[in-house]
Point group: C2
Chain length 110, copies 2
């Protein structure tokens, strides 16, 4: 029960734990885009992007539909953006603390 919720959480977080996939989600934003639009900006093989997209799909981050010969992806639940904003807040906290530490270090040297 509770076990499976934890697993879902881990799956969602795992899907978002890769820089390329994070950027794919950002790139999608609120739009629906086909793979042929998503591939070029990332400079990775089409097969690589396809696997990332499938992983995001399996984790329920994106949904997809096919239209003719293309497959269109879109972010399924806008909550993911709230989540990313939350992570950003944490990341910024940490980076600014790092900077503070660096400055203190520098000050102590000179």
């Amino acid at each position: 029960m509770s076990r499976s919720v934890t697993d879902w959480r881990a799956k969602i977080l795992g899907a978002l734990s890769d820089p390329t996939r994070l950027e794919i989600v950002e790139f999608l934003g609120g739009e629906e885009r086909c793979v042929c639009e998503i591939v070029p900006p990332f400079g990775r093989a089409q097969s690589t992007i396809s696997k990332h997209l499938n992983l995001l799909f399996e984790a329920g981050i994106v949904e997809r539909r096919t239209d003719g010969k293309r497959t269109l992806y879109r972010v399924r639940n806008p909550k993911v953006f709230d989540l990313l904003r939350e992570v950003d807040a944490m990341a910024l906290d940490q980076i600014s603390e790092l900077k503070k530490a660096e400055e203190m270090l520098e000050a102590s040297i000179r």
Copy 2:
């Protein structure tokens, strides 16, 4: 620049993308606890838990201090709990959609 923020985000999310680590974070809650308290409930080798804790530390999720022969860990930024609540919301959405789909499937069978 922007690259390194994305990497930080990925690092934070990666640290939280494992069920054991998620449960360690939950277990810590707002408290400060030593490794000797954390290990038993998880039924994993001490070395395994130690590695998980170190990974959480590297990602800036927890902080640690030593007191005598023990090392005490605590969640460093309470924002992590907001983040987890956000993930929960998503996970619940997805699980409930799964259930809905199952019910529709069952209904169509009988």
